[in-house]
């Protein structure tokens, strides 16, 4: 990303005394899109953390009356008995009508009936993080017998909004877990490759090239198709993340190796070595800090790839399986034209994917540009 408001470095207070991390933060702050991206990412992870509390209903509670219920508009005001405008969150109720000839069901708004929404109301009981039993939800129907659908309902009458919020948890964490695995593989192999050089480096590099030459999706498909069918959803979740990172570590390995090679000849590293610092100290104390920022940047850019990969695999039915809810699993419902022309709101999880991936990309770009705070003068 090159959109930066140019703030002259001279105006930055105390630039000579700031630590490297502080300089990076200043460089990052100037990157407006990255700041927005960072905020959005933060919100997504907060949603992932508190999805039980945020969702108005349980994601698995079905309702035969509300099959493919269309989205309802959130209203702030309503007309009370006297015909005056009164404040209160509500949606207009809809009733199901069946066409006598085609037997097709349609939902028509019911102007007389409103469903009121309670802030911090008592809803279906749930367990926060599977541990703390609670009843209060941020928003839920004031009357526990009623339901409302801000993003529509799926083919079993489940609330799409709640399902998407729950999907955020798995889709956003699968990126983190997968990247953590790739990080271990990438940093160790890239580090060995860059530090030892020579034959070892050549072998590891050929290996990386081979993996880069393979078409990832067929390999992913093949690997996940060969997972045993009877594994529990959780085991499958970890197996899928492992499969994703098996292919995803190469980019990190390349970055780490490249930095290692570049840093080896830097003055401060040579100085440290001439000072008699041990190999370990040179790597951990002197080289690692200036690599960390680059690694963080590549990690941030690797997460969206993982999210897209998981979404694709689950969409095809080879990734996560239904009791688990991820954006890909949800999009699987929107697979054929008949369904999506009847219920276009089933696309909504796709918006989640696009937003999350965009935000992570902007954030990663910002971090990458800030990773080398001393190079700012040249690029501007």
């Amino acid at each position: 990303m090159t959109v930066q408001d140019v703030v002259p470095t001279a105006s930055v207070p105390d630039a000579e005394h700031a630590s490297q991390w502080r300089l990076m933060w200043w460089a990052f702050r100037r990157h407006r899109l990255a700041m927005i991206g960072g905020t959005v990412v933060l919100i997504f992870y907060l949603i992932a953390l508190f999805c039980e509390f945020l969702s108005p209903f349980s994601p698995n509670s079905t309702s035969a009356r509300d099959v493919f219920h269309p989205p309802q508009m959130l209203r702030l005001f309503y007309k009370d008995e006297n015909g005056d405008r009164a404040f209160g969150l509500n949606v207009q109720a809809m009733t199901q009508k069946r066409d006598p000839f085609t037997l097709q069901t349609t939902f028509v708004p019911d102007p007389d009936r409103r469903i009121f929404i309670a802030f911090m109301g008592r809803g279906e009981p749930y367990k926060l993080w599977g541990l703390i039993p609670l009843e209060r939800r941020l928003f839920t129907a004031a009357n526990p017998k009623e339901r409302f659908f801000l993003l529509g309902a799926d083919r079993l009458g489940r609330d799409m909004l709640s399902r998407i919020l729950y999907g955020t948890r798995i889709s956003m964490t699968i990126g983190l877990v997968g990247v953590a695995l790739s990080l271990i593989l990438g940093v160790s192999l890239g580090g060995i490759s860059g530090y030892l050089g020579g034959k070892v480096d050549a072998i590891i590099q050929r290996f990386v090239e081979l993996i880069l030459a393979l078409p990832t999706i067929p390999i992913w498909l093949g690997l996940s198709a060969s997972l045993p069918q009877d594994w529990s959803p959780l085991t499958r979740y970890f197996a899928i993340t492992a499969i994703l990172s098996l292919v995803g570590w190469t980019e990190l390995a390349r970055v780490v190796r490249g930095r290692f090679l570049a840093l080896r000849t830097e003055d401060f590293v040579i100085a440290a070595r001439l000072d008699g610092a041990s190999r370990r100290r040179v790597i951990l104390r002197h080289m690692a800090p200036s690599m960390a920022s680059h690694i963080i940047a590549s990690v941030t850019l690797a997460i969206p790839l993982m999210i897209i990969a998981e979404t694709s695999l689950s969409f095809l039915g080879l990734g996560l399986q239904p009791p688990l809810i991820s954006w890909g699993v949800l999009l699987r419902e929107a697979q054929n034209v008949q369904t999506i022309s009847q219920a276009p709101w089933l696309f909504a999880p796709g918006a989640g994917v696009v937003l999350a991936v965009l935000a992570l990309n902007f954030l990663g770009d910002g971090i990458r540009d800030a990773a080398d705070p001393y190079a700012q003068g040249q690029s501007a």
């Binding site: 081979l210 030459a213 078409p215 067929p218 390999i219 690997l223 060969s226 095809l316 034209v337 994917v353």
Partner: protein
């Protein structure tokens, strides 16, 4: 010199092909139970009488009791002679099922590559020359959204728009009457009428990323002194641009086909499934879901080979336009 480089490069790819075949075979072997058990299960499911002798003969033919290496050897020597084993789901030799689909896959990947280049190159140059203008921002935004949206999602949205607003079905590569017809001029024209949409969908994300790369490369070049010199000497802006900076900026561009091609091949799998194209992807998926592993393995092997060849071609192209690489 160039010939020597190409030869060396081809030799280099031999271990790659070998590794790809090992991986494909490992995937064939990965599901629990061997081929004959699955075959017997399908026969039983369709109500056929299972002839133990026939099963034994099959087991013998594929050496299913032999160790991995022996089985691999039999499989790969068959593959080299064009025998990919039998698809138990289709009850046909795999080789009869794959070639037309692979051909269409190749056509699709190739078409997408050309589309990507034809669109990304001028747009990248344009947005570099008109840096920080409204059109640059617009292109950048489209580029980012294109990168962030999975191809299959775009395909779904396109299908939705086509059905709801135009009442048209955009899936498939052929019209009804040409679906099973033998190849003819009419069928080819029909293919061209259908293939543009999948190409545009598949090309979107790689176009977006190539556009970004082109823009960044060109921006680096445009600040260099030789550009100023040429401008001071009175060269017209267009000739100046095309003759020097673009040529140099093109260099990393070519090297990206190396990874663009595998990505195209692999990205096409899911999009083709959504659009139900008669290419390799949907059949591969079906084979994987049914654990029809010889068919799946053949596709995986061929797709891997396709991307290795793509990498090879890009390296050779790179050597053609940049003499420094040949002499290394």
């Amino acid at each position: 010199m160039l010939l020597g480089y190409i030869l060396r490069r081809i030799l280099w790819s031999v271990p790659f092909f070998f590794a790809a075949s090992l991986i494909s075979f490992a995937l064939i072997q990965a599901p629990p139970g061997d081929y004959v058990t699955s075959f017997a299960a399908t026969l039983a499911a369709s109500g056929d009488v299972i002839d133990q002798g026939r099963l034994e003969a099959l087991r013998d033919r594929y050496g299913l009791d032999a160790p991995f290496i022996v089985q691999y050897w039999r499989w790969i020597s068959g593959v080299l002679q064009g025998d990919f084993g039998i698809s138990f789901e289709w009850q046909q030799p795999v080789s009869q099922l794959i070639w037309e689909r692979m051909g269409l896959s190749l056509a699709l990947a190739f078409g997408t590559l050309i589309f990507t280049w034809a669109v990304a190159l001028p747009l990248g140059i344009y947005s570099a020359v008109r840096k920080y203008t409204l059109s640059d921002y617009a292109l950048t935004t489209i580029g980012f959204v294109g990168l962030a949206t999975p191809n299959f999602l775009i395909a779904l949205v396109m299908m939705y728009i086509a059905v709801v607003y135009f009442g048209a079905d955009v899936s498939g590569l052929f019209s009804q009457e040409y679906q099973v017809a033998p190849w003819s001029w009419g069928r080819f024209v029909d293919l061209l009428k259908h293939i543009w949409l999948p190409i545009a969908i598949l090309g979107l994300s790689s176009t977006a990323s190539l556009m970004r790369i082109m823009r960044a490369n060109l921006l680096d070049e445009l600040n260099k002194p030789y550009v100023t010199t040429a401008r001071a000497k009175g060269l017209s802006e267009f000739r100046l641009l095309m003759k020097y900076p673009v040529r140099i900026a093109l260099n990393p561009f070519v090297s990206t086909i190396g990874w663009a091609f595998p990505q195209l091949v692999s990205g096409a799998v899911i999009t083709a499934f959504v659009l139900s194209l008669p290419t390799a992807g949907p059949l591969l998926l079906q084979a994987l879901l049914a654990q029809d592993m010889y068919l799946a393995g053949a596709f995986i092997l061929l797709l891997c080979c396709l991307s290795i060849v793509g990498m090879l071609v890009s390296d050779v192209l790179l050597a053609l336009i940049d003499p420094r690489i040949r002499y290394r």
